[in-house]
Symmetry: C2
Subunit: 434 residues, 2 copies
């Protein structure tokens, strides 16, 4: 193992480069606020996104700005922290350099890779075009446009007495984890309310919202009782839940489950993730999902100046359990890496190996419905929904966003109204297309 690197900057301050301003990357930056290190956060976007609420943007409940904040704004009080909007293309670990897409480089003494994950299509990348997932604001506004346009087209067809085209009113969500459950519930609420109130020719009875899960129950990481509660709540919203449903094909026409073809113009992917390219950049081993296997201190084997955290890292922690790919784990890992770095800067003893603290699991199904597991407690229904709302508003980055999201939710709750139902980024109205 190479020796612990010595700061080489002109003022001998250690230079820490963090790639990715998600929950993990920001936790590292926050932990190093008073460290004396020069921290540079590199991200392809200028904003941090509160990913757990992206499905609300995709279903027109919230606006993009409600769940995102400029990275510069988040770290503005940390005067030694810099932000760089750039595309990372690789890492030269021997020279301690990050390579950027414009050909320039960024030198570091310590590197933290927190680049997250994208959707994984189990090797069927051609599905991506027809079944987008939601990981970024642009993903979410694209899905929102798809859903709202499909309803507009169905209304046009009925209005002009053209032959019925049910595929516009069929919405299929693939994947029965928390994101899939939340998406399916939110689509059902959005479309039902819109047909009841705003449309004249299409009705609630024309709608078909399906949730397809390959396993034999929803929410596989939750206790079985809560998976069942989620299924019942979804049924109550009119969602058709298909368990043990294997997606065998996705195309222009729609989706095939087993041998059954379902004609639909809206398929949403919430089934699998694929880690970012960190393993390729570093030339190290990755697991099946592309995640880098890290040491108990979250460093890369053989490179104690490089750390990988969040959805990009694979680790069985000190308690013997796999750390899950969720926001709280990424945050805790980020804080742990900051502690490790502080110890290195001051020469003090390294913290004990990382251990993930699971405070609980939450998923919401719609207005007043949610499921939650906190320690050995399991709750569902309205109390779980109140807990979920409070927790999410609390954890939103930025005080202003908390107020706006809180006000929006309260407003939606009272009025059933969705203020963000805008179709944007549409350069051309293509109607009646397949």
């Amino acid at each position: 193992m190479p020796p612990v690197p010595q700061p080489t900057g002109r003022n001998a301050k250690p230079r820490v480069v963090i790639i990715g301003a998600g929950f993990g990357g920001l936790a590292v930056a926050r932990g190093l606020a008073h460290s004396g290190a020069t921290v540079t956060i590199v991200d392809r976007q200028n904003h941090h996104v509160f990913q757990p609420l992206l499905y609300q943007v995709a279903t027109a409940g919230l606006s993009p700005a409600d769940i995102a904040a400029p990275i510069r704004s988040i770290v503005k009080r940390q005067k030694e922290t810099r932000v760089l909007l750039a595309d990372v293309t690789g890492v030269n670990a021997d020279q301690r350099r990050v390579l950027l897409s414009d050909g320039t480089t960024l030198d570091y003494d310590f590197l933290v890779i927190a680049t997250g994950a994208r959707h994984g299509y189990f090797g069927r990348d051609e599905w991506a075009e027809h079944a987008p997932g939601i990981k970024t604001l642009d993903d979410a506004t694209r899905v929102r446009r798809n859903i709202l346009l499909a309803m507009e087209r169905a209304e046009t067809i009925r209005q002009e007495s053209l032959p019925d085209r049910d595929e516009y009113l069929t919405f299929v969500v693939v994947g029965g984890g928390p994101t899939g459950v939340e998406m399916a519930g939110a689509i059902a609420e959005l479309t039902r309310h819109a047909t009841d109130m705003d449309f004249r020719f299409i009705t609630r009875r024309c709608l078909r919202v399906m949730l397809v899960e390959a396993g034999d129950r929803l929410l596989p990481t939750f206790p079985a009782k809560l998976g069942d509660a989620a299924r019942k709540a979804l049924n109550g919203l009119g969602v058709i839940v298909r368990l043990s449903g294997r997606v065998t094909d996705i195309g222009d026409y729609g989706v095939t489950i087993g041998d059954e073809k379902i004609a639909t113009t809206t398929v949403i992917w919430a089934a699998g993730v694929q880690a970012s390219d960190a393993a390729k950049w570093l030339g190290v081993d990755a697991d099946r999902s592309g995640r880098v296997k890290v040491e108990p201190d979250l460093s890369v084997p053989g490179r104690n100046d490089i750390f990988v955290i969040g959805d990009t890292a694979s680790l069985v922690d000190a308690s013997g359990r796999s750390v899950p790919g969720v926001a709280p784990a990424a945050k805790q890992e980020g804080t742990h890496v900051a502690h490790c770095l502080l110890a290195r800067f001051t020469g003090s003893r390294a913290p004990p190996p990382f251990r993930y603290r699971n405070w609980g699991n939450l998923a919401t199904i719609g207005r007043k419905r949610a499921v939650a597991e906190i320690g050995s407690f399991q709750i569902s229904g309205l109390p779980a929904w109140l807990l979920w709302s409070t927790a999410h508003i609390y954890f939103l980055v930025g005080f202003r966003n908390r107020i706006v999201v809180g006000a929006n939710w309260l407003w939606n709750y009272i009025t059933f109204e969705r203020g963000a139902r805008l179709i944007t980024g549409m350069t051309h109205v293509a109607r009646h297309d397949a």
Copy 2:
């Protein structure tokens, strides 16, 4: 002149088609709510936009959803009103048919064309690519992306000690009317605050915001005293105001004023408008800006079943003055057409010729600065700004939007914070490009 058309629908209800859901089109629809007519609103977008505040979206003060509302939502209580998302390509006035881009048609008994205006580049359409204006939400988010990306690029260049590239920090607004004045003031506030608080390498002194006006004063439609007050307020924000400045060229490199080339990556067009294609659709005379010359009742000469209103119409009203292309005029014209139609439906006497009531003119220059003319009163500074804020919040469509915009403004006012500073729709980070 052809006879007044008789309803031909199967239930003998007159069929009114309104093209365009701007201020004018919506005023017609609202006026016909209890008329017994079947009203169809056709628009290329699914939402109405409060255009006077688009510049706030372009400068990250408000989110798109704050100033827009789905058309369906606005008319949801008018059960005889339908909304169709479609592109109009023409009108067959003899057959009373609207032609749509997908080849279908829409029959009408009465037609109202309220399709507004786009930017006009005085015959230099190649400028459009380099100098976008703001007429739609997509326009506004594009300009927002341009401004925010320019600052990010400037910061990157300084951070990497590359040669200075001042064009990234030069912002040029063309046109000294209300939109240009408001844009220039808002850009100055946005960029100054961002460099002061969020950026580490670029400073307020690097910024150059220019407002170019061809005439010898700002706000030519306002009293001279207020144009002067606006110029002083803009100077106070660091804006360089160039009067009698003729733009002779716009390109990749920036903009040329007279013979002087100004290198900039951000040019915003607020100089001229060109009416929509209504005159072409109808095969009738248009003025220099493409507007249809209408009769005193806003109908098209020789076609008393077709009305043209708003920015698409050209009229010297009953008081002998040209009706200006502003939101209140479009609204008043829409209400007038609804009254004309109601009179026709019931066979009662037609209302007197249209007369525009000018309640006043308002323009804002930034935080606490505005100019206003109400009747013979002229005010500027904080009182004008308070009046402007109140008026705009009041006129926003939809109660929810009023609350959200009010809260956002209050928040921005207290904190100097801009919550909507998101760069979205960026598929690739291109840096250091010219």
